[in-house]
C-alpha cells in the first residue's frame, strides 16, 4: 500500500515537480493560479514542446538533433512567402521543408557515418542559408486576412481552449501512440539501449534512424508554422535561442541523454516545467539580474529530481 504510493511517486516525479512549482508560485501570487493564466502559460509552451517532441525521439535513440531551430525558422519563412501564392499549399510546403531537412540530416549521419551532433549542426547551417535566401534576409509579414483563412487552426480558440494547446495535445497523443504501439517506437527504445543487438537481429537500424530524424524535422517545421501563425509573419531568425531550451525540455522531463529511456509525455511535462519556472520568476518578481542564475540552478535541480537513473549504470 504505502510502497505502491512510493512507486507511483517515483514514476511521476516529473509531474509532481510541475505541480509543486505551480502551487508554490500560486501561493506567492494567486493571480498566477487562474484558469485563464494557466491556459496562457500552456499555450505559450506549445511551440517549445512541438520542437522538443521530435528531438525526444532522436535523443531516445541515443543521437541528437541540433538543426531544429533553423528548420523551424525556414518553415516560417516558406509559409510567409508562399501563403499568398499557394494558400493552404504553403503550409504543406513548409512542413515538407522540415521533412526534407530532417531526412537530409539523418541521411548524412547514416551514410557518411558522422555523429548526429555534427551532422545536424552542419545541416542546420545549410537550412539557415536556405531560410535567408527564401526570405530575402527580411522577416516576411503574413497578411491578417490570409492568416484568418488558413492559420486559424493554430491560433485563436476552440472549445474554450487556445488552439495551440489542441495542436500540442494532438501531437502529444499521436507521438505517444507511435512510441507505444508501433514497431518503430519499440525499435527506437531498442536502438537507444543496445544498437548492435538490434542490428544483429536483422533490423534496418538506419531506416529507423532516418524515420526518427525525419519526424524530428517535421515536428520542428510544424512548430515553425505555429510560431509564424502566432507572430503573423516568418523570419530566418524567428526560432533563434530555441535549440537549447528545447533540448532542456527533453532532459528535464527525465529522458536519458544516453538513449533508451524516455517518452513524449515526459517531454511535455519538461516543457511545462521550464515555462512555469520562467514565467514564475516574473510573477515572483526575481530581478532580471538574478533570473538567469536562478533558472540555471533550477534546471540542474529539476533534472536531479526527475531523471530515472534505475536503468542507466553510467551517467555521462
Amino acid at each position: 500500500m504505502q510502497s505502491s504510493a512510493l512507486t507511483w511517486l517515483k514514476d511521476n516525479l516529473t509531474f509532481v515537480v510541475l505541480i509543486v512549482l505551480v502551487l508554490a508560485i500560486s501561493i506567492y501570487d494567486h493571480t498566477f493560479f487562474s484558469a485563464s493564466n494557466l491556459l496562457t502559460v500552456m499555450a505559450d509552451t506549445m511551440t517549445l514542446f512541438l520542437m522538443a517532441s521530435g528531438v525526444t525521439l532522436v535523443i531516445m535513440m541515443g543521437g541528437i538533433d541540433l538543426s531544429v531551430q533553423s528548420v523551424a525558422s525556414l518553415a516560417s519563412c516558406i509559409l510567409a512567402v508562399y501563403l499568398p501564392r499557394f494558400g493552404a499549399g504553403a503550409i504543406g510546403l513548409a512542413v515538407l521543408s522540415g521533412v526534407a531537412s530532417g531526412f537530409f540530416g539523418g541521411l548524412v549521419s547514416n551514410q557518411l557515418r558522422i555523429p548526429s551532433f555534427i551532422a545536424t549542426l552542419a545541416v542546420s547551417g545549410v537550412v539557415a542559408s536556405a531560410a535567408f535566401y527564401i526570405s530575402g534576409t527580411h522577416s516576411v509579414n503574413i497578411p491578417g486576412d490570409l492568416s484568418a483563412v488558413y492559420l486559424s487552426w493554430a491560433v485563436g480558440n476552440f472549445l474554450g481552449l487556445p488552439c495551440e494547446i489542441w495542436v500540442g495535445l494532438v501531437c502529444l497523443v499521436v507521438l505517444n501512440a507511435v512510441l507505444a504501439l508501433t514497431p518503430f517506437g519499440r525499435l527506437v527504445r531498442a536502438i537507444g539501449s543496445q544498437e548492435r543487438a538490434v542490428l544483429a537481429s536483422g533490423i534496418d537500424v538506419n531506416r529507423q534512424k532516418l524515420i526518427a530524424f525525419t519526424l524530428s524535422g517535421t515536428m520542428a517545421a510544424i512548430a515553425g508554422v505555429v510560431m509564424a501563425a502566432r507572430l503573423g509573419s516568418g523570419s530566418p531568425t524567428l526560432a533563434n535561442e530555441f535549440l537549447l531550451p528545447a533540448i532542456a525540455c527533453v532532459i528535464v522531463g527525465g529522458t536519458a541523454v544516453t538513449g533508451g529511456i524516455g517518452s513524449i509525455w515526459r517531454t511535455y511535462l519538461g516543457a511545462l516545467i521550464i515555462q512555469v519556472v520562467r514565467i514564475g520568476m516574473t510573477f515572483v518578481g526575481i530581478s532580471v539580474f538574478a533570473q538567469q542564475i536562478v533558472f540555471g540552478l533550477l534546471l540542474v535541480a529539476a533534472v536531479a529530481i526527475t531523471m530515472d537513473r534505475s536503468k542507466v549504470s553510467v551517467i555521462k
Binding site: T40, S139, M227, G234, T282, V284, G285
Partner: protein, 363 residues
Amino acid sequence: MTKNNQPATDGVSRRLLIKGAMGVAGAAAFGMPFIKRSSAAETTWTLANSLRSVANPYHATFAKGGENFAKSIGAKYEVLITEGNSEKGISDIKALLQRTGGKLIVNVDPNDSPDARVIVEECKKAGAYVVTQWNKPADLHPWDFNPNYVAHMSFDGVPNAKKIAEVLFKGMGGAGGVVALGGILSNVPAIERKAGLDMAIKDSGGKVELLDFQPADWDEKKAFDITQAWITRFGDKVKGVFAANDGMGMGALEALRQNNLAGKVPVVGLDGIAEAVKAIEAGEFAGTVAWDPLWTGGMGLAIPYAVATGKLDIAKEGKEHREFYGTGIIVTKDSVADFKNNPSKIDFNDLFGKATGQIQYRG
C-alpha cells in the same frame, strides 16, 4: 538585435557595480533579496521595459532610462528580457499583463519585428499601454490600436548611416575602397544602415568602391576575424571600414591595431558607445552616430503614462507623434569634445521634444 556599449559615467557604473555584487550574493540565496512583494489587486500602474538582455550596455542604459522615469513618478518598475527568444519575450509580457490585471505600461524593443503585432494585440486586449522601439512590421500602426498602442519610436538608419558613411569617405580623402560590416541580415536597422551606406557610395559618383560586405551579426569577435581576412584579401586597397554598429567597429579597429593600420585606415560605426567616442578622440575612429537610450528608455514610458493618466489624448496627436524618429547625433573629431561636455538633458514633461519627424517606409 544586440547593440553594444553605451556611455555610462564612472560614478554610475561603480554604484551599479556594488549593486551587482549584492546581486550575486543574493542570487546565491536563490535571489530572495530581489523578490518584491506584489499584491493581487493592482491599483497603481506598473511600468516595464522589455529588451533583449541587460548584459549589453545599450539595453542596460535603455533599462536605466525606464527606471529613471519610474523613480520620478514613484511607480513600480520591471525589466523583462527576451534573451533573443521571441516566444519568451511575448509570454513574459503576457505574464506581466496577467499579474497586473492590465494596469501595465510597457516600453518594448521587440526581439524581431513580427513580435510587435502580437504584443500590441495582447496589450490592447488587456487594456494596457504600449510603446515599441526599432522593430515592427511596416503595416502595423499605432493609430489602428487607439489608445493602447501609443507610439512607435525609432532612429532612422538610412540617413544616419548615409551621413556617417560620408564622414568616413571624407576621412579617406573622398576616394578608395571600403569594406562594410553588417548586423544580423534580417534585422531592420541592419538593413536600413546598409541602405544608407549604399546611397552614400552611389552619391560618391564611383570615387568610393565597396570592396566587400560581410554580416558580423553585431558581434565584435566576428568583426575582428572578418577584418583580419579582409586585410589579407585586399591589403592596402582597404581605405576605410564601415561598421553597422560601434561594437563591430571596435572589433575591426582591434584587427587594424594588430596590423599597425589603426589611425591610417579610418573606421565609422553607429550607436555612440564610449569606446567609439574615445577612439574618435584618439583619431582611430572617424565618427559615430549617438542615439540616446536613456531618453528612449524613459520617454517610451513617459508618453504612454501621460496617456494612461489622461494628461494626453493620444488619438488626437498627429502621426508625426505616433511613429517618429529620435535624433541621432553625429559625433566626429570636431564635435566630440562638445558631445562629451554637454550630455543630453531629459525633461519627461517635454514628451515630443526630440521627435524628428514621422517614420518613412521605403520599399
